[in-house]
Symmetry: C2
Subunit: 409 residues, 2 copies
C-alpha cells in the first residue's frame, strides 16, 4: 500500500527546510520551475545591501563589501549544485545573454565546422540566440534543429556545437547529458548545456559528464527572485581558449587599468561583461544559502517521490477528465516537473489557480506542475490533485472568465 | 564679488530635492558620476517588490504588477531626460551588453562599409565591445579609434558607425553631439551615443541632434543603485530595420507563443533579451521618480554653477599643490564633473576620502569630482575644497597607507 502524504512528510529528511521559505496561507505553489518561492531571510539581506552598502558606504562598497567579486562568489555557491568546480562558474546577466557569449566563443573554437545542433523543442530563446548569431555571421551555419529522437544521428563530424537543455520546459523530460556529451565529443563537437530546469532541482553532473559549457537560471529552482542574475559555466580546460566577443570591461584582465585594448581575464571571469547587478546578486547569494548542508542526492530522492505521488494520484483524473501525461515515467528521464496536455489546458490552469493551486500553462495545451523539493511537501501534492478534481468535476474551468488570456501565460 | 556658498544654496530652486536622498552624516559625496546616492524611498519600494510581489503574489506578478512591461515603463521614465520619445527607450541589461546589441544591429544597416570610428579615450568597455564584434566577424572592420581632435577628419564615407561617449569619463569634457551626428550623417554613417555621464546630469537632446542610437547607465546620475539596469535608445525611424542578433525571447513579437523561429517585436522592445531584472528595475524606477517635475534646464544651470564654483575655489590650490585642471572651462564643453591631474593622484584621493570627501581616481593620475545637482549643494563644494587644502597642507596624503591600492580604484 502506498504511504499517505502525511506519512511521507513525516519521514522526509528535508521537511524542516520548508520553514525557510515564505509560503502564503492556503496556497499550493507548484510553479517553482517558473519562479521559485522567496526564502524568508532574503528581504533583510537586500535591505542591508541598500541601506548600509549602497546608502551609507556608497562607492567604497566595491572594496569593503567586495561587490566586485560577486560574480565569482555567487558562481562558487552554485558550482557544487551543478557538479562543477568553484573556478568554473560565474553568476551574471541572463540566460539569453550568457548563451550568446558561450555559443559565439564555442563556435570560434571549431572554426572549420558549419553546423549547430539543437533540439527543435528546446526553449525558444536558445534557438533564437543561435539564429541571431547565425544572422550576424551572414548565415554561415546550418542550424540543425531536430526532434529529440534524431539528435544522436544529427551529431555528425561537421558539427561545431551541440546546444541542448537538459530538462524540457514543457514535458519535463530529462535528456541523457552523459551519453549526448560523449556522442558530441566522439565527433569532435563541443557541448553547451542549458540547466534552466536542472540547477537546484537535482544534482547536475557537469564535470562527471565532461560537459564543456553550461548556462542556467537563478530564479527557478535556485529561488533567487524575479529576473535574478543567471549563471554560466566554462570547463577549466576550455577557459584559456574561449575568447569572449561580448567583451565588456569587467571581463578584462585588469579592468581598472582602463587600457584601450581588450585582454581577457585568465579564468572564467573573462565571460563577465558589465557591472554586476548588486541587488539581484545579493538576493541570489542569500537564497543559495538555503542549499547549505543539503544533500543533493536526498533532494533527488524527494523530487522523484513527489513527482511519483503526483502521477499516481492524477491517474484516475487522466481518463475521467481527458488529461494526457507527457512526462516520462522512467525516473532517469524525468526532471522535477510533471506535465499533461488537456484540450482546455489554459482555462483548467486558470480555474485551478483560482482554487489556490498555482501551476502554469505552456502553449498550445500543456499544464505544468513543478515540484521544488526544498519547499514542496507531499501534502501539497495530495491537496493539489484534490482541488484539480473539484475544478474538473464542477466544470468550473468552463466559466468564460478563465478563458481570457493574460499578457504572460 | 562671488556670492558665498550659503547664498547660492539659499537661492537654489532645486535645493529641496536634496532631502529626498540619504546623505550620511558629515559626508561630502562627489562621486555620483560613479555611483549615485540612494533616494530614501527606494528601499521601501524594493522591499515591497520582494515581500508582496515576489513573496506573496509570486508568478502572478508578471501580470498583476506588470513586471513584463518594466523595460518599456522604465524606459519611458528615462526618455524625457535624454530628449527621446517614450517609445524609443527601454531599460535592460548593462551598457556593455546594450552596446553590443546596438553596434551589431547598426553595422548590419551599413553592410558595404568597413570602418567603425571611435575616440581612443572613450570608456574602455565601448572600445572592447567594438573589438569583440570585430573579432566575431573575423576582422572585417577597421577600428578607427582616434584622438578627439581627429574625429571630424576620421568620419569619411567608408564609415559604418560612429560610436562616441558624450562626456569623457576622465576629463569631463562634453563632445558636441549635434555637430558630430551631422558630420556622421553627411557621409551616410550612423551614430551610437553613450550617455553614461550625461543622462540625469543635464538635458540630453537625442532627438534634437537627430541621434540614431544611444545607451546609458542607471547607477550614476540616475541613482538607480549599484549595478542597476542600463538603458538603450533606438530612434523610431531605425526601429523596424534594426535587427537584434542578441535575439532573446523577450524581444520576440510574441514571447508566449514559444515559436521556435525568431521574429522581432515591432518596436524598440525587440532589443530586450532575457527576463527583466525585477529588483533592479524596481529600484531604478523608484529612483527616477526623484526627477518628476524637475526642470532639466534648471538642473543644468545648477550643475554649471557647482562646477564653476569648484574650479574657482580650486584655483589657488592648483599652483600651490600641483593640480592641473583637465576639464574645459567652456560651459558648452563640460559635463557635470571636474577633474585634475596630480602626480600623487591616487594617494591624494585616498587621504581626501579619509577626510570624508569622496571623489575618485582614474589611472594614471586623474582625480575626479562629480556634481549631482539633485543632491550636491554649494556648501559641499566649499567644504570639499577646504578639506582638500588641509590634506595638502598637512601632507597627510604622503602617509604610506594612502598609497596602497585597492582592487577597485
Amino acid at each position: 500500500m502506498t504511504p499517505t502524504a502525511a506519512t511521507l512528510d513525516a519521514r522526509d529528511p528535508l521537511a524542516p527546510i520548508r520553514a525557510k521559505f515564505h509560503i502564503p496561507d492556503g496556497l499550493i505553489y507548484l510553479d517553482g520551475n517558473s519562479l521559485g518561492m522567496m526564502p524568508v531571510h532574503v528581504p533583510e539581506r537586500v535591505q542591508r545591501a541598500m541601506t548600509l552598502e549602497w546608502g551609507t558606504d556608497l562607492i567604497r562598497s566595491w572594496n569593503t563589501h567586495d561587490w566586485i567579486d560577486l560574480p565569482v562568489r555567487v558562481g562558487a555557491q552554485i558550482a557544487r549544485l551543478i557538479g562543477a568546480q568553484d573556478n568554473e562558474v560565474i553568476a551574471c546577466d541572463s540566460i539569453s545573454v550568457n548563451l550568446f557569449k558561450l555559443l559565439s566563443a564555442a563556435l570560434k573554437l571549431r572554426p572549420d565546422r558549419t553546423v549547430i545542433v539543437s533540439d527543435i523543442d528546446n526553449f525558444p530563446t536558445d534557438l533564437y540566440i543561435a539564429q541571431g548569431i547565425n544572422a550576424m555571421l551572414s548565415g554561415k551555419y546550418e542550424l540543425r534543429f531536430v526532434k529529440r529522437d534524431q539528435l544522436e544521428a544529427a551529431i555528425t563530424d561537421d558539427v561545431a556545437v551541440v546546444m541542448l537543455t537538459e530538462v524540457d520546459y514543457r514535458t519535463g523530460e530529462r535528456l541523457d547529458m552523459k551519453s549526448l556529451t560523449e556522442r558530441a565529443h566522439a565527433v569532435g563537437a563541443l557541448t553547451i548545456w542549458d540547466l534552466a530546469h536542472s540547477a537546484g532541482a537535482f544534482p547536475v553532473e557537469l564535470n562527471a559528464c565532461n560537459a564543456d559549457f553550461a548556462v542556467g537560471c537563478g530564479y527557478k529552482y535556485l529561488n533567487g527572485g524575479p529576473g535574478s542574475p543567471a549563471f554560466l559555466m566554462v570547463a577549466e580546460r576550455n577557459q584559456s581558449a574561449a575568447l569572449p566577443v561580448l567583451s565588456g570591461w569587467m571581463g578584462h584582465a585588469a579592468p581598472f587599468a582602463f587600457d584601450p585594448n581588450y585582454a581577457p581575464d585568465a579564468g572564467v571571469r573573462r565571460l563577465t561583461a558589465g557591472t554586476p547587478a548588486v541587488l539581484g546578486m545579493t538576493a541570489l547569494s542569500a537564497a543559495l544559502e538555503v542549499f547549505d548542508g543539503v544533500d543533493m542526492h536526498a533532494l533527488r530522492v524527494k523530487s522523484l517521490a513527489l513527482t511519483d505521488l503526483f502521477m499516481e494520484l492524477m491517474h484516475s483524473l487522466e481518463t475521467e477528465y481527458g488529461f494526457e501525461l507527457v512526462t516520462p515515467t522512467d525516473h532517469a528521464a524525468r526532471g522535477s516537473q510533471v506535465s499533461y496536455t488537456h484540450p482546455h489546458g489554459y482555462a483548467v490552469m486558470q480555474a485551478l489557480i483560482d482554487a489556490k493551486v498555482i501551476g502554469d500553462f505552456r502553449a498550445p495545451e500543456i499544464v505544468r506542475f513543478g515540484f521544488t523539493p526544498l519547499y514542496t511537501n507531499f501534502a501539497d501534492v495530495a491537496t493539489a490533485v484534490q482541488r484539480l478534481e473539484t475544478v474538473m468535476q464542477s466544470g468550473a474551468y468552463l466559466e468564460p472568465r478563465f478563458a481570457q488570456k493574460s499578457k504572460v501565460t
